[in-house]
Amino acid sequence: MSGGGDAIIVSALSKTYKVRQAWRRAQSLRAVNDVSFTVERGGTYGLVGESGSGKSTIARILLGAEPASAGKVRIAGRAPLAGGRAARKAFHRVVQPVLQDPYASLSPLQRVGRIIDEPIRIHGAQPRTSVAQLLEQVGLRADMAWRYPHELSGGQRQRVAIARALGIAPEVVILDEPVSALDVSIQAQILNLLRDLQERRGLTYLMISHDLAVVAAMSTRIGVLYLGSLMESGTRDEIVHSARHPYTGALIAAATGGADFVSARGDIPSPMQLPPGCPFQTRCASATSRCAAEKPEPRMISPTHRIACHYDLPPVGAKIQGIA
């Protein structure tokens, strides 16, 4: 167990890819641009963004699947991809993923029981909880251990993926769109399960989704990503009920379908051709020439609420249920 403090620390994280298309010169794709946030131990941080926002890239960097181009990442005090093989293996014990596609996450040739205890076998650890107990904790019958993945439904497979992630008792779980591929009624079951497991084991979650409603249901703090930059971040209530950034407003409009919010115009630009200045200015209803010329620096408008916008626009937010 590493020292106290935040479970996840991300500071000035950037990631640039060099993309070469056949006959053209290599272009650089800034997938992540100077992103910083922290997640306290036992909390849930929700990262919401649409396509091209860089959220999956951030997940991969935090998991140690890819190196960052710049910036600092600490998960439970450790840096991913630092040190030799042993250090990296130890890092993987601390943070585990749950990914989007339940049909691709499980090896088709192994039985469920073997899939779940594979991380335990890799680390040669003595499992604290047996496979049967893990299955029970994720709401499956113990005899499921003998089945093959193709015999299970999407929701059941996702439960198996969660059981596998928890087998080696990580401190942090990175959830990259964990319920997007599931039906609504199953989504709710899985989200409830994740909530229960977090309470029981004191896990720290990074919840990544394109669906603001899902993120809002699970997170204590939320960050809004657009084209690789954090547009706004704050506590859940601040984001949901008094968002100050126009992009967050557009997401709220999309999630509630209300006519009172101004939606975003046009399409999301390609990350390879980032707009100059503020990334959102091409679609923002309140954009000015300053927005196109100058990229806004993030500033705090409250001890917990940070936005990257030149202007102080009035807050927007979803109506609190029950109040007209």
């Binding site: 709710a188 809002a216 999309a254 379908g257 939606s263 999301i268």
Partner: protein
């Protein structure tokens, strides 16, 4: 307020041949849509909503087969029409928009050419310049800026939202009476989704289109449609005006579906999940198909399939309707 139904589906039943025999995926489905109105077909995986759409246009996979029922379009039963006649209806009187716009478009033809093809085939426009002119007009009708330049783009050069707009443009170029939309916005980003829905709504108003909107998202349906039909395990379980159903769902499944979806305005906490999973199409339980998962099920629910109750323009197939809603409900039909 509703006019005569443009499309009337009665007891439509479709099955799919699999290795285990014929499996019924659409079971005695009945609904109707009037001109200028939109109906949402809401259900989860395996509910049969996509197959219902396919059955209307008789575009089933080779292993699929329409077992019975009627699909009356302008009074004519589509299921008994010869193949030649149905082909003339497809695209011209009844359009279809699918989920994945990328695979709906020909990747090696420019947008202009694909639109031009519609004008050539359906309107007999021989002049190339005239086709181009109409293509530009069609793109502008779907709110694509810089339409003249876009004509020479290929589908891969456009974003997802743009591609879906092009698909819509191709569909409405023939001025159809009915548009079938199968999850047209599911694959799009949230902000783009709103734009496409707004576009569809505007087009519907301007052209008096009837729309059948298939989706798994009841809230999305509420934003967009006038009426809703909720499907479960191949059958329709509830119909009615969207506002009324949304405010006070009659069928426990519809109620569960609404409660399970996370809502932005609600306080954070556990979601009201529906326990269990939907039945596989080949193995539906006796009695009400939702009974095994229903928290309010009674003894009769697992022995006899519910009658279809009807009140105030709404209807639902649930034994508990008279009790739950305290309304005098007329039994429309006793289902076998």
């Amino acid at each position: 307020m509703t006019g005569a139904p443009l499309l009337e589906v009665r007891n439509l039943t479709t099955s799919i041949c699999s290795s285990g025999g014929a499996v019924t995926v659409v079971d005695q489905v009945s609904f109707s849509v009037a001109a200028g109105r939109s109906l949402a077909l809401v259900g989860e995986s395996g509910s049969g909503k996509s197959m219902t759409c396919a059955s209307i246009l008789r575009l089933l996979p080779p292993s699929g087969r329409i077992e019975g029922g009627q699909v009356r379009f302008h009074g004519q039963d589509l299921l008994t029409l010869p193949e030649r006649e149905i082909r003339r209806l497809r695209g011209r009187r009844i359009g279809m928009i699918l989920q994945d716009a990328m695979t709906s478009l020909n990747p090696i033809m420019t947008i202009g050419d694909q639109l031009g093809e519609v004008f050539r085939r359906h309107h007999g426009v021989r002049d190339r310049a005239e086709r181009r002119r109409r293509a530009v007009a069609a793109l502008e009708a779907v709110e694509i800026t810089g339409a003249a330049q876009r004509l020479d783009s290929y589908p891969f050069q456009l974003s997802g939202g743009m591609r879906q707009r092009v698909c819509i443009a191709i569909n409405i170029a023939c001025a159809p009476d009915l548009l079938l939309c199968d999850e047209p916005t599911t694959a799009l980003d949230a902000t783009v989704q709103q734009q496409i829905l707004g576009l569809l709504k505007r087009l519907q108003r301007e052209r008096g289109l009837a729309i059948i909107f298939v989706t798994h998202d009841l809230r999305l349906a509420a934003q967009f449609c006038d009426e809703v039909a909720v499907m479960y395990a191949g059958r329709i379980v509830e119909t009615g005006p969207i506002g009324a159903v949304f405010a006070a769902p009659a069928h426990p499944y519809a109620e569960g579906l609404l409660a399970a979806a996370p809502e932005l305005g609600a306080a954070p906490g556990r979601l009201a999940a529906i326990p269990g999973t939907p039945p596989a199409p080949g193995s539906v339980p006796v009695g009400c198909r939702f009974a095994p998962r229903c928290t309010q099920a009674e003894a009769i629910c697992s022995t006899a399939y519910p009658d279809w109750f009807d009140w105030q323009e709404r209807s639902a197939a649930c034994w508990l309707v008279p009790k739950r809603l305290a309304v005098p409900a007329r039994v429309v039909e006793t289902t076998a």
